[in-house]
Symmetry: C2
Subunit: 349 residues, 2 copies
């Protein structure tokens, strides 16, 4: 009979058909090798359940084991990677970590996602970074919105980033938040990035792999609207601890946010909760609370998704002014403190 070790050694010689010079064992695709009676059992871990080469992989695993001993039965259990495993797999598949990446130490990675644009996702991402920074945490912001980047403007950053020995150094805000965005690399902030998906994906991967983030307690990823290339790339390449969904009171926004939530489910990224933005505005003259986008649907949407409602934020002309002036760090975001606390509590759990 064969031994566990013989099986593993045999599978070390099974190369992945699509990844150059990498075998299934070193790619962490083989787990729980066991032998009982005349049966070898093992788990084959796939990035997605329905990868087109699934059957070919199973066949090559079987063949490698039965080549050791033609009399054994082989039982292959298929399991899908979770989001963190998949991100690590993607890194391995692309040749292992890059110089900058291998020196970075990123604690928690949180993506801010809305599906729908204009619900204030970027300012929620920035305010979350500001709240964590005020707590004394080391914080980075990765602006994954390549065609509509807003982080540099919110933080008043205009200088192109410097090059370090192993990659790009992120820009630093007045309070020390590290920021990387395509707009820091463009000759002018109005310049359009008219790229199809593959180039957008490559830029996002570079922001993760080739930026010298250093030691960070939190990396906040600002995702663009939509569930296409940019969001897909972030969810496939960056190990996310959770996503925060941002919506506005309109049911129309809720519908698109529900699409984004479905994407997160399908990509197995845990949803931290839902933030409703632009819930109301307070009349500066008579203090009337005006629900400009209609009555809140957030509790309803949160219940539909089975995620906690983390909070509701009002529309504040002062925030709009601070954003346009590049002074988001100076904004007194008191209502953001409990919200940030809830988010960090849930992602570190």
């Amino acid at each position: 009979m064969v031994t566990d070790q013989q099986v593993v050694d045999a599978l070390r010689k099974v190369m992945h058909p699509e990844i150059e010079q990498r075998d299934l064992v070193s790619l962490n695709m083989i787990r729980n090798v066991g032998i009982q009676g005349g049966t070898v059992t093992l788990t084959l871990v796939l990035p997605f359940k329905e990868v087109p080469i699934k059957d070919a992989l199973v066949d090559s695993v079987r063949a490698a084991v039965t080549a050791l001993d033609a009399s054994v039965q082989v039982e292959v259990k298929l399991v899908e990677m979770d989001q963190q495993e998949r991100a690590a797999f993607t890194t391995e598949a692309e040749g292992g970590p890059r110089p900058a990446q291998s020196m970075n130490q990123v604690g928690q990675t949180i993506a801010v996602l809305s599906g729908k644009g204009g619900v204030g996702k970027s300012s929620v991402a920035a305010l979350l970074a500001v709240a964590l920074n005020r707590q004394g945490q080391q914080v980075g912001v990765l602006d994954a919105d390549i065609t509509g980047p807003s982080q540099p403007k919110l933080f008043g950053l205009h200088e192109p980033p410097a090059m370090g020995p192993t990659g790009i150094l992120p820009a630093q805000t007045a309070a020390g938040i590290r920021v990387m965005s395509i707009n820091l690399l463009l000759p002018g902030e109005d310049e359009a990035v008219i790229w199809r998906g593959p180039l957008i994906s490559r830029a996002i991967k570079q922001f993760w792999q080739d930026v010298i983030w250093g030691k960070l307690d939190y990396l906040i990823v600002d995702l663009p609207p939509g569930t296409s290339d940019a969001s897909l790339t972030v969810m496939q390449s960056i190990p996310l601890n959770g996503v925060v969904l941002v919506t506005s009171p309109q049911d129309l926004a809720g519908m698109v946010v529900r699409k984004a939530a479905r994407m997160a489910y399908q990509m197995k990224v845990p949803i931290v909760g839902l933030v409703e933005n632009m819930s109301y505005v307070t009349c500066p003259n008579c203090q009337e609370r005006i629900e400009v986008f209609g009555p809140s649907q957030a509790m309803h949407t949160a219940n539909q998704l089975g995620v906690p409602l983390l909070g509701s934020l009002p529309l504040d002309p002062e925030l709009a002014r601070r954003c346009d002036a590049g002074e988001i760090e100076a904004y007194a975001a008191d209502m953001f403190v409990p919200l940030a606390a809830k988010i960090t509590e849930r992602t570190s759990a």
Copy 2:
């Protein structure tokens, strides 16, 4: 010496290296053939100035002409297609018009673009369609926002579209506006479309080529945020008479809208003008006019772009309610009438 006709006949035998069985003449890439003294002059029309095969095309044109008479000089002038020519070229390059497309008669095609999400682009597109429909025009709405489609919800459309003999029949609103959107084809409106760019582009092309629009005075195209695949595909494949830019008062939105405007310039699509949405909200209690997104930057943005400011629209909770209820056609959009008039006046000019 050679004659014009001989030159054209010779160029009819020069096949496009990337388009199967099509020659340069039938693709409308050759113009202004003339002969003076011993020199043949002609214009080679390229979809983009810097197509990679530019030099190869010029060489093959020269070779074809000098094969007629080795003593002639050949002067090839290079010209770039405008947006309408490029859309026609794209159709030809893909095998000519499809059955539905060849029977459609679309008068004016207007795209609504913002670059930035959430500035109310979709509701501006829908209200423009409604205003034109109320004038007695035949109007269609092509929802090119594949990952965040909102047109069916705005118009209260839920039934899947029927299949006609040559393609897909668009849904019809109560007032007779024809609408095509990915959300009409999904099993549930919350379903996510997690597609990379090529699939998104294909869906948009199908909405143009395989939908039985019939006879339309106006087709309004609702573009998604961003300047990536979806917007690129619309600008390359659909002959647009103009784009309407939508912004909100924030300079942050203005910045992203300026990126979108640059894209339109680069793609040679005329910009009809700028609409500022969400300019202010009127307090229902004290009638105070509150600039929730800060003071208007629209005139400044319009001047920077050198395009007319078509109008400023307030935030209206009633519009949000009507949108969520699928009743946008019942919304009394009085302030939209002059705006629609300005748009149609400029696109038909």
